[in-house]
């Protein structure tokens, strides 16, 4: 028996009404801004994302979810936020919604009252986009980081590199993790102060490498919270990424079912072949296992001890990773050539699910962390 208590419900919301309301507005905005064709057009116009979409998220209050009411936030539960992220995963949105929400939540958890007051209202309004820059090269998800912060007459001097930061290409503000003499600390750094190498990821979302070449920042840029807050944010980021992947898995399954029920071979629909029927069943089972363990990880992020949280998140990352791999690969396989082309969603879902597997620590990292916790 897991010791995680999902009940009683978190004080703020978890309220069926709010959820239904959210879900409705979300469906509206995604329908308006995220048809597959619109997504392609946004991409082809060399915009990496739709500016209109981000504004619409702000308008609907999606950028304020779970943030403190005193700073313009809407204090719903993390599960509500996860529901939004899942829907965005299904629509394969290009904007870094989940990363921005993780960073905003980290700011509200680890920032001083002044720092929160300075940034959160603009974040909630969609005017400032904040992103956590933590991971470094060599796939070093949570390894000891190399970036350092040393005291300087004017404040702090940052050096090092941050690698493949999701949403880093369009961020206005970064929270940067760096080693100090007293452990890892977090710093607020405006994007304008940094050398940034923006790029497109293979799933079309934006990313960037950050070059911290002796950047000087004021003392006031340091967040109050440090290592513990960072650990919580990394786990939240992984759990929300699982929610995004669950959305993409559902979409991939729906797409594959639709294809196999209409496409005919040897005089029968593809889904009339027993081997493909069982494949589709296994894809469905993968989805039905991925969704609840993601919910458990989200619940643990909201309410559990750090060790319980780490265990639940690593379990979800491993299990959703398996599902992402299997469903992503089979979605392509069962589509045949059509599964590979740019003009059709299958390959895009495969790419998004592949990138999910590589992000927030791979399978081996989470297996080892989990083993450490249960053995």
């Amino acid at each position: 028996m897991s010791t995680t208590q999902m009940d009683p419900a978190p004080a703020q919301s978890d309220d069926a009404d709010i959820r239904a309301l959210l879900r409705n507005s979300l469906d509206t905005v995604l329908a308006r801004h995220y048809s597959f064709e619109q997504r392609r057009d946004a991409r082809e116009n060399e915009a990496r994302e739709s500016q209109a979409a981000w504004a619409a998220y702000a308008e609907l209050g999606l950028l304020a979810l779970t943030l403190p009411a005193g700073h313009g936030g809407l204090p719903v539960s993390l599960a509500d936020l996860a529901m939004v992220v899942e829907a965005m995963g299904g629509a394969m949105v290009l904007e870094p919604y989940a990363p921005a929400m993780v960073a905003a939540r980290l700011l509200s958890a680890a920032g001083s009252e002044d720092q929160q007051a300075a940034w959160l209202p603009a974040i909630c309004r969609g005017e400032v986009r904040v992103i956590l820059a933590h991971e470094e090269a060599n796939g070093g998800y949570a390894k000891p980081i190399a970036a350092s912060a040393t005291p300087d007459p004017h404040g702090w001097r940052l050096s090092g590199r941050k690698s493949a930061v999701a949403g880093g290409d369009t961020a206005d503000l970064f929270i940067v993790s760096a080693n100090t003499a007293n452990g890892v600390a977090l710093f607020l750094v405006p994007a304008a102060d940094l050398a940034i190498r923006p790029a497109r990821s293979f799933d079309w979302t934006g990313t960037a490498d950050l070059m911290l070449d002796d950047v000087i920042i004021p003392t006031s840029a340091r967040l109050t919270g440090g290592e513990a807050a960072l650990a919580a944010a990394l786990d939240e980021a992984a759990a929300l990424a699982c929610a995004d992947a669950v959305g993409a898995i559902r979409a991939a399954n729906a797409l594959t079912r639709a294809h196999t029920s209409t496409r005919r071979q040897f005089g029968r629909s593809l889904d009339a072949f027993q081997v493909l029927q069982h494949r589709l069943v296994d894809m469905t089972i993968a989805q039905e296992l991925a969704a609840p363990i993601t919910a458990a990880a989200i619940a643990a992020c909201a309410a559990a001890t750090p060790a319980e949280r780490a265990r639940a998140v690593s379990a979800a990352k491993v299990k959703v990773g398996e599902a992402a791999r299997y469903v992503g690969e089979q979605c392509v396989q069962l589509h045949g050539g059509m599964g590979l082309v740019q003009e059709y969603p299958a390959a895009h879902l495969f790419a998004r699910l592949s990138l999910f597997e590589l992000s927030h620590g791979g399978r081996d990292y989470h297996l080892e962390r989990y083993a450490e916790l249960v053995l």
Partner: protein, 387 residues
């Protein structure tokens, strides 16, 4: 996954098992040693005395009136604590079916006897040529005055040799337009002349299952359940029971704990590869538990389990097999010596590991093989239905 109230209830159940089920018997269960019929009956009587023999039954029939969730907690806690399994045939399969379709006389007579352990039931469904494909069964019953005369053979009749009663599917209308339409369900006293129970010995030397031959066995007409020729429908109901516990979470938790214990004894908890294998199995169990919890949530809201129960059956059985395979792998070749007398006195549990490994092969076969489960899910999701 449990509310505070549910947690308190689980603790009450746990305390009861620890005080009322002998330590000896529980240790046997933990170590996968066979429990005797007597030991099982003693535990049955202890539960009966507490009113807990059939928690999933409605109160009017001697059940507890518990919710599906409480029933789930109860059975999983029992499994975790090593209480022996009472068997499903009477309590979980026939009982609820009789409540729904039995005559008032059948209910009044049989249900209390199931509850008390006075009757021990076995299930006579499978035949040599009819396993997953029950509709092709051949055992016939012909009405002769006020008796049905039964001829034929049942196979894979688990625990028939420790039972006194069988509920059986028999063909009563050989001319029915579809094979499944001519089948009825009969309650057969195994002491009736003409019944011959012969052991089927498994590789591990155990007799847990049997062949049962019927040679002009006369069964009173009133022992037919419900209406004639509707046995097929009833059998679907019988097999559909026990769905909430189908993932065997408690049992799997117990096996996982056993695996960790043995891995530690074998010095394997420092092996990175073996640690990863244990972690994978444990994560699979967490995922199954999360899925079962979601099913419970729906059960709390009154939604009966659908194909997610079939999914849990598939994945739960695969996990049981994975865990028992890891058990023998942890022991390595030391698990080779087998059976009574073969045990290394320092590590007596070694000689029982293969039994667990072997026994779990059946869990992906019985109750509808995993292949059949996938067919059922595919059909239910409408695959291949668009022409």
């Amino acid at each position: 996954m449990y509310t505070a109230r549910e947690q308190a209830f689980a603790e009450e159940v746990r305390a009861f098992v620890r005080s009322e089920c002998s330590e000896d018997v529980r240790r046997k269960v933990f170590e996968a040693v066979a429990v005797t019929a007597q030991e099982r009956l003693a535990w049955h009587k202890a539960l009966h005395a507490r009113g807990w023999a059939a928690p999933h039954w409605p109160a009017e029939h001697g059940g507890t009136g518990w919710s599906p969730v409480e029933t789930y907690i109860f059975s999983e806690t029992l499994a975790e604590e090593g209480a022996p399994d009472l068997g499903s045939f009477g309590l979980k399969m026939l009982g609820p079916t009789l409540m729904q379709y039995g005559t008032p006389e059948q209910k009044a007579y049989y249900l209390p006897r199931i509850l008390s352990g006075e009757d021990i039931w076995c299930q006579g469904f499978s035949e040599p040529g009819a396993g997953s494909d029950l509709a092709s069964l051949k055992t016939r019953a012909v009405l002769d005055g006020d008796h049905w005369v039964v001829n034929g053979q049942k196979m894979w009749t688990t625990m028939a040799h420790e039972s006194n009663m069988m509920f059986a599917l028999v063909r009563t209308d050989p001319d029915a337009p579809k094979p499944q339409m001519g089948i009825s369900m009969l309650l057969i006293d195994l002491k009736t002349p003409g019944v011959d129970i012969r052991p089927i010995i498994l590789l591990n030397g155990e007799r847990t299952t049997n062949e049962v031959f019927f040679d002009n066995v006369r069964v009173p007409a009133e022992n037919l359940v419900g209406e004639p020729h509707k046995g097929w429908t009833y059998s679907r109901v019988v097999l559909g029971n026990e769905r909430l516990s189908i993932a065997r979470i408690g049992l799997n938790r117990r096996q996982l704990a056993r695996l960790k214990r043995i891995a530690a004894q074998q010095g394997l908890t420092t092996s990175p590869l073996f640690r990863a294998r244990i972690a994978e199995a444990s994560i699979e169990l967490d995922a199954l538990e999360a899925m079962a919890t979601a099913m419970l949530d729906r059960a709390r809201a009154g939604v009966a389990p659908g194909i997610e129960a079939n999914m849990l059956k598939i994945k739960g059985s695969e996990l049981q097999q994975r865990l028992t395979r890891l058990l023998v792998e942890a022991a390595g070749r030391s698990a080779a010596p087998f059976g009574p007398g073969a045990a290394d006195p320092d590590r007596p549990w070694l000689a029982r590991l293969f039994k667990s490994h072997f026994d779990t092969r059946v869990v992906s076969i019985y109750g509808g093989s995993n292949e059949i489960q996938r067919n059922i899910i595919a059909k239910s999701l409408g695959f291949g239905a668009s022409r």
